[in-house]
Homo-oligomer: 98 residues x 2
């Protein structure tokens, strides 16, 4: 079962994501990051690769795209907050963008 | 050259889009529509098909996706408002969703 991150666990798991440019969303237990790409094709290509992992893991982002920019918000609706799935997807998104 | 829609032209071109669920965005010369799909794979599959047309035409949407929902805003930055390209892309998006 997916569980909400404990206070102890989140310190360990979230700091490396903060270091990668993720931040907590105001008034939500969710993390966000803005990804910038060379152009639309590059941005949407990255979204497509991320989408395949999201679908494979049954865990989907909230995201918007305008040209070369993608804003991502990750949270786990089932637990009304952050779970390990968000950390996993955030790391994958960073890896795919890297 | 891309030109902003004239008052006369926009009446003719926009009414069929309003009939399809598009509406004007508040405080912007832009049109918007929310597309609903069966699930994430269906929503993102549609986005992918629309993205290919957008890239082909060099005219890109502002859009966000959460699971089975995609909110689209179309406008033409070069003319600071609606152009025929927005109408063309809106029709294509409707066609791809239909």
């Amino acid at each position: 079962m997916t569980e909400k991150l404990s206070e102890e666990t989140r310190k360990t798991l979230l700091q490396p994501l903060y270091d990668m440019g993720w931040s907590m969303v105001d008034d939500r237990d969710a993390i966000a990051k803005t990804f910038k790409f060379a152009d639309f094709a590059d941005a949407f290509g990255w979204m497509t690769r991320a989408a395949i992992w999201a679908e494979k893991w049954g865990h989907h982002p909230e995201w918007d795209n305008t040209y070369n920019t993608v804003n991502v918000v990750l949270t786990t609706h089932d637990v009304d907050g952050l779970s390990a799935l968000d950390v996993k997807l955030a790391r994958k998104m960073d890896g795919l963008a890297g």
